[in-house]
Amino acid sequence: MTVSKQPPTAEGEPKPLTMKDYTSETKVTWCPGCGDFALLAGVRKALAAMGKHTKDVVIVSGIGCSSNFPHFLTSYGLHSIHGRALPVATGVKLARPELTVIVAGGDGDGLAIGAGHFLHGMRRNLDLTYVLMDNEIYGLTVGQASPTSLMGHQTKSTPEGVIEHPINPIALAITAGATFVARAFSGDNKGLSELVQQGIEHKGFAFIDTMSPCVTFNKWNTYDWFKERVYNLSDQGHDPTNLQAAMARALEFPTLGNDKVPIGLFYRNTSKPTYEELEPALRKGSLLTRPVDFPDRESVLKEFY
């Protein structure tokens, strides 16, 4: 059971990184055809293209099929508990702003049990990249409705069909204050890895809602279903710096109906400072090796006299 995870490049001549440098020896355990493979490839590709050293990347996930994600990369990873990937990642990033921190997880993880953190994680505008592996179902727990399951979806927990309005992750992310909001599709590898790379490069909270079909438990939102509906925002001249326009596009799916599923970049705001930039204790950079900064003893204690 020993897998050695080698960093992509070390000393000597810098050589260009490839996806392989990010590929761990752990066998990927997803079902053949699972949409999550595309995102995995996309992240590997983006990291390689950006030349990020595996030692400086931390992938944080929750629990779910999708949350096994970090095991399949050679970087640092933290496979946390269900729904808490965002606060854990926030802690990592605040402690070590110099690291590249990516959060990966499922729609249940992020939008059901993690819904509160979803909002609060985004309104902080930390420089995190959050890839949601959105399959509109609970995969690992073998097929219950998720917050993005469409009305009428019959699942193990909703045998007569879902009767709740699905959550709209894009609209939510924009409302919450994420400064890079995109939708990707696992059937479009190229677009996906480009969005991931842009997301990582973006300084601020980047959210990428990835339509990632679960071939085992979701018989509705299949690749074909999406292929019939997706269109690319950039083909429609959408201006991602326009908040109102972004919100209007966001409401197309799933709020207003399922006929069209826009993919691509909805919204980007590059003018907002990140949380790290505003955090007073980080003015001097990461605290890892900085000791407590007490002035003389009397100054510390005088308030207690």
Binding site: T29, D56, Y76, H79, V88, A95, D293
Partner: protein, 626 residues
């Protein structure tokens, strides 16, 4: 029925089926003893929330402390912002103050309810300061205690000297100073410092108002019969929350996340307001789930980290507490208990969350619980907590309580060492040593602690996982669980983690018996067990009883998990007679002791009314057993 009851050791049986009767009125601490010249001073000021009682009390407490006295002070308040009855209690003396004491020397009443409620606890010779324009003291209210009422036109004087009725408290403070014989100059100096930013006029009006009260009392009253040995000793006046906050930072805490909750919020307020100056990141989280997970993330990334909360918040941290155990990430959680269950009495005290913390989270993993005994010990305890958390990579809970967290005591500055070492020997911050290559995050080691690397270090890449894992951190639950090779890993990993308890037990100080001077602790007639904040008042009561001839020792438990079972078992089995005093209904430490040693403690005094222990009540309870 009796047999059934005897089968419920966690039921207090005394009052079980009592119906319709009130419990004896303990709880405010007066047992009618009389003193002539008193060597200590007890001040109490009461009124409505919003009357400025807290700042008045703080002024008086600090005046006493600056006069070189030992001080204990406690602010009794309600869970509303305005209108509830609040009172502030100060006790000062030359010797250490171990509790609020019994009785009141000077009662400053800003409203009628204060008189009606607190007059009954006056010490003989005490004075009730009240505003005759608004309130009255009935003869039968003072008769039993022979206290003297002293009417003073608080509102009128405030209006006259400060043109602000809220300044009644300052008038009262002046009068109290005179009656107590405290050096007024110290208070004047405090007011000067406090208001200097607001300009000379404000300073002057404050000092005038204080003097108006002082002069009025001088003219119409007489000083109490007190001998207070003031000194030039400079002490710190701190709460347990102060000590924990400062101690955490001094111990090397670099990250704190918290969600507001009484009575743990002051820890947050202190850290937040000192964070950027002292190189600490403070983050108010969206809830306690986030707070603890933020701290876990930061700790994983390499910063010594903590969170603090009260019982309700800890309830929400339970799952992540286990996460820290499984990931083997150091974590310090301060749990300042308040009176439950559920929302309970949010501003009142109790020691009833131990069962929760002890069992917190599914499954089994090593943890430590430290219940500090007093305010200086809060400082020591938080340092120990960080040391154990970092050294053994485990979650550690510092179990405080509202009384400990919010009451003030004078602390000798010598107790506060700002240069605290932190043992980070099991953390790799820069380079993987040759001995650790290839790096195995969860390496099987004799003491169960595996060198921990932080991200950014090359060669240490791995995925820390809350799923059960192998030495190199690969999962065993997704492909092969239940097969012989995986069972082997599981069993060994479980044992590796649990072995840490042995190491922690080794560094934990063992409890010892204590007895007042003159009593041989090992041969006392009675051994009184107590834990956490109850230690101080028990010492006071035991000292007083021994002073009158009793032979009593105390066993003061602080490090509750891993439990020092061998030592406790040894000490208790040699004791003549044993009793336990704790602030809860079901006898949580009594049960812990039995669980861990098999020894039953036949006598107890348990309190679950939300108030701190008073020495007279403790003495009475012990006397019943003696």
């Amino acid at each position: 029925m009796d047999k059934l009851l005897s089968g419920l050791p966690w039921l207090v049986r005394r009052n079980d089926l009592r119906e319709g009767t009130s419990p004896p009125l303990r709880g405010a601490g007066w047992d009618g003893r009389s003193t002539m010249t008193r060597h200590e001073l007890t001040l109490r000021a009461g009124g409505k929330a919003g009357d400025g009682i807290a700042s008045l009390g703080d002024t008086l407490a600090r005046t006493c402390s600056r006069a070189g006295l030992h001080v204990g002070a406690y602010n009794h308040y309600q869970s509303v912002i305005r209108g509830g009855h609040v009172w502030y209690h100060v006790r000062a003396r030359a010797d250490e103050v171990l509790s609020a004491g019994d009785g009141i020397d000077v009662l400053l009443a800003l409203d009628q309810l204060t008189i009606d409620t607190h007059a009954r606890w006056m010490n003989p010779g005490g004075v009730i300061l009240f505003d005759p324009d608004k309130t009255k003291v009935a003869p039968e209210q003072i008769a039993p205690t022979t206290a003297t009422p002293l009417g003073i036109p608080l509102a009128a004087l405030a209006k006259q000297h400060a043109s602000d009725p809220i300044m009644r408290n300052t008038v009262g403070a002046g009068a109290a100073l005179y009656l107590s014989g405290l050096p007024k100059e110290l208070t004047e100096e405090m007011l000067r410092q406090a208001f200097k930013r607001k300009g000379d006029e404000v300073v002057a009006s404050n000092i005038n108002t204080l003097n108006a009260g002082y002069d009025f009392a001088k003219e119409h009253g007489a000083p109490l019969n007190l001998e207070l040995a003031t000194s030039r000793k400079k002490r710190l006046l701190m709460t347990g929350n102060d000590a924990i906050a400062l101690g955490a930072v001094a111990s090397g805490c670099r990250f704190a996340a918290q969600y507001p909750m009484t009575p743990a919020s002051p820890i947050m307020h202190w850290i937040a307001s000192h964070a950027s100056a002292y190189n600490v990141i403070f983050k108010q989280a969206e809830d306690e789930l986030a707070a603890i997970n933020l701290a876990i993330g930061a700790s994983y990334a390499g910063l010594p980290s903590m969170t603090a909360t009260s019982g309700g918040g800890f309830s929400l941290m339970v799952e992540a507490f286990g996460q820290a155990g499984m990931l083997e990430v150091p974590l310090v959680v301060v749990e300042v208990q308040r009176c439950g269950p559920s929302t309970g009495l949010p501003t009142k005290t109790e020691q009833a969350d131990l069962d929760m913390v002890k069992g917190a989270s599914q499954g089994e993993f090593p943890r430590a619980i430290i219940a500090p005994l007093n305010i200086a010990d809060c400082y020591t305890a938080i340092h120990e907590a960080f040391t154990i958390a970092e050294r053994f990579q485990v979650p550690v809970c510092v179990l405080s309580d509202l009384y400990l967290g919010e009451h003030w005591e004078t602390v000798d500055p010598e107790a506060i060492d700002l240069q605290l070492p932190l043992d980070r020997s099991t953390t790799i911050l820069s380079q993987i040593p040759a001995s650790e290559r290839p790096y195995l995050r969860y390496k099987f080691t004799p003491d169960g602690v595996s060198p921990r690397v932080v991200p950014g270090v090359d060669g240490g890449q791995h995925v820390a996982s809350t799923d059960e894992h192998d030495e190199d951190s690969t999962l065993i639950g997704d492909v092969l669980a239940g097969l012989p090779q995986a069972i082997d890993v599981r069993v060994r990993m479980m044992e590796k983690r649990m072995r840490k308890l042995v190491g922690i037990a080794k560094v934990f100080k063992q409890p010892t018996l204590w007895a007042p001077p003159g009593v041989d602790a090992g041969h006392a007639k009675l051994t009184v067990v107590c834990w956490g904040s109850t230690q101080r008042v028990v010492r006071e009561a035991v000292t007083e009883l021994c002073h009158h001839g009793a032979s009593i020792a105390t066993l003061e438990l602080r490090n509750l998990l891993p439990f020092p079972a061998a030592t406790v078992s040894d000490l208790l089995s040699k004791a003549h007679k044993t009793m336990i005093i704790e602030g809860n209904y079901t006898g949580q430490v009594e049960r812990l002791i039995r669980e861990q040693t098999g020894l039953s403690i036949p006598h107890h005094y348990r309190k679950y009314d939300g108030e701190p222990f008073y020495p007279s009540d403790v003495r009475a309870a012990i006397k019943e057993v003696l």
